[in-house]
Subunit: 209 residues, 2 copies
DNA sequence: CGCAAGGTTGGACTAAAGTCCAATTTTCGG
DNA sequence: CCGAAAATTGGACTTTAGTCCAACCTTGCG
């Protein structure tokens, strides 16, 4: 049923904390995987694996915030819950500004942590869904030839075939051919659908002078 | 030039703080307006006035977080910078989750506060711009008759006039009339533009069975 | 060199959309 | 009940878009 049961990645340099959290999560039917250092997580994490990350802030080597930054840099948007014993407000604010989903302080009530984790898993789920759709659209976009892509951008701008032809310096007939092939490749049958997909993918129309 | 110079609203129950901040902001060519209590701000604030809000957390009566919540409830999205002497992490996290743009602790370095304020004013500016565009679109949408609105939603779904006609149980000719008037009222000349506007305004297509 | 892919164009239509002018029919509030 | 707004339909076209089949360049690569 679930080829990839959502995982709760836990990074903490305190082994007793890892053990305690593992026990707690297991008893809550969650699937914890532990790492003793941020570097280890960074090296071994597979971004395709659904889940969330529970992260201590204060750790030797890379600290939690640096790990967050490293993940952002490499385009990994796994939801992060910070968990710290010696944090301060500026630290929590920085983490939240960079997109952390929560920032909890130790000692944490089990229910609070579990609630945050469940919320993070839900967020990850919908993020992944959107991601997958986006990947599909991008893939289709990548199959377009240069000309087809140009025509697409003019269509998004709402131009008539006639106008596009003039802009590109070719006859209208050719536009129709490119346009037809483009629609076919994008898997849509109407301009409305096409625009919808392109808005999702962030494809912008050419600006009409 | 600027009929509404952006204002920095400051709410704090400590008059000496208000005075100090006012002096600081004035010297930075900003335009501060002070309030001694959250209630006073809530009663007197005009949401059309551009600016941002600097807010102490701990105050008698409504506290800062409650004021934030009250503003959210009444749909006012002015950027809020919290400024507090006795805050804690959960408080800052709650504030950030609800959309605060920053959460600073006293004593605050002047530059830090000014930097946060400038960022908030910029955010307010672009928020207002988007807001204004949205209001225009909503206004045009409101001028549509029931039928025109129905036709719009079918057009967004990419349906042909023929199909729309069948769905609505009327002849295609009539669809053309409604469609033409709808496009006219929305101020667009192509389906691409129409879809673009509607995505901005959150107008969804009818779901095709 | 020769082939494949991309780009271009023609011809000949079919279908879909939009337009102008007119004319009923409903609907709804005052 | 009456009038205005909304909804509906016809007729007669003009424009646009899309389709099928075919053909002709150009370019890059094995």
């Amino acid at each position: 049923m679930t080829p990839h049961p959502p995982t709760v990645f836990i990074v903490d340099d305190d082994l007793s904390v890892l053990k305690g959290l593992t026990r707690l999560l297991r008893s809550a039917k969650l699937n914890p995987v532990t790492f003793a250092s941020p570097q280890e997580f960074l090296d071994r994490h597979d971004p395709t694996q659904p889940g969330c990350l529970v992260l201590d802030v204060a750790m030797p080597g890379l600290d939690g915030l640096q790990l967050q930054q490293a993940l952002i840099t490499r385009g990994c948007e796994i939801p992060i819950i910070f968990l710290t014993g010696h944090g301060d407000i500026p630290m929590s604010v920085r983490a939240m500004k960079r997109g952390a989903i929560d920032f909890l302080t130790k000692p944490v009530r089990d229910e609070d942590l579990l609630k945050a984790i469940r919320a993070a898993l839900v967020a990850d789920q919908s993020r992944r869904q959107a991601q997958a759709e986006l990947a599909g659209i991008r893939h289709r976009l990548a199959t377009l030839t240069t000309r087809e892509r140009e025509v697409l951008e003019h269509v998004l701008a709402g131009q008539l075939n006639k106008q596009i032809a003039e802009d590109l310096g070719i006859v209208e007939k050719t536009i129709k051919v490119h346009r037809g092939r483009m629609m076919e490749k994008m898997g849509v049958t109407s301009v409305a659908e096409l625009v919808h997909l392109c808005e999702l993918a962030g494809v912008k129309a050419i600006s009409i002078r």
